[in-house]
């Protein structure tokens, strides 16, 4: 079946512009996560959504970052007034958490963001 998909695969933007990154999770997965992978910082958690619960935003680095998940499926990560340090690969993952089972997260291919 289809895995997690992300678009665009690459995005180049000028400093100060806003960008939107899209994630389509695996159908039926109730949890959706955003991570960022950058040189020197490794993989870091940004935000996750689980069902109808309030999202865990504890990893967002600044108020320029926000995310929403519409209809419990597709998610958009928005970065306002982009800065050069925002350049990274943004990864989305989804899972189906179940009682008595581990939360196996499946990752998409990522969006490579370059801020010039």
């Amino acid at each position: 079946g289809a895995g997690v998909s992300q678009s665009p695969s690459n995005k180049v933007t000028e400093k100060g512009k806003d960008v939107e990154l899209r994630c389509d999770p695996i159908s039926g997965h109730t949890a959706l996560y955003w991570y960022r992978q950058s040189l020197g910082q490794g993989l870091e958690f940004l935000i996750y959504f689980q069902g109808n619960s309030a999202p865990d935003k504890s990893g967002l680095p600044s108020d320029r970052f926000s995310a929403e998940r519409t209809g419990g499926s597709v998610s958009t990560l928005t970065i306002q007034r982009t800065q050069q340090e925002d350049s990274a690969v943004y990864l989305c993952a989804s899972s189906l958490p179940r009682l008595g089972s581990s939360d196996e997260q499946y990752f998409g291919p990522g969006t490579r963001l370059t801020v010039t």
Partner: protein, 114 residues
């Protein structure tokens, strides 16, 4: 408290040899320890995972050894093959029976020489 420390940063192993990557954690609330494999240009893919009530888990050539008292765990790749060349991340989460963010180690770039 939330960190997962991983070593070595890079590793070169001859084909057929054993690759060993080590990790350590601090937060005893973690209850799920996955390992991810990542190839260039791809997202991480779950390789193998373990819970802290088990000391060892083996899947094919891949084995996790877990030492709960020392708060350490390691990945062993037996009979390493050139196709195993990738970046490996250890990780920890409270993701058993619930959604939870993953805390990743810094990664190990593994190269298998033919």
């Amino acid at each position: 408290q939330q960190q997962v420390k991983q070593s070595p940063q890079s590793l070169i192993v001859q084909k057929g040899g054993i690759s060993i990557i080590n990790c350590a954690y601090e937060n005893t609330a973690f209850d799920y320890f996955p390992w991810y494999q990542q190839f260039p240009g791809k997202g991480p893919a779950l390789l193998i995972a373990i819970r802290p009530d088990v000391s060892e888990k083996k899947e094919g050539r891949f084995t996790i050894s877990f030492n709960k008292s020392a708060k350490q765990f390691s990945l062993h790749i037996m009979d390493s093959q050139p196709g195993d060349s990738a970046t490996y991340f250890c990780a920890a989460s409270m993701g058993y029976s619930s959604a939870s963010k993953i805390i990743f180690g810094s990664g190990t770039r593994l190269s298998i020489r033919p």
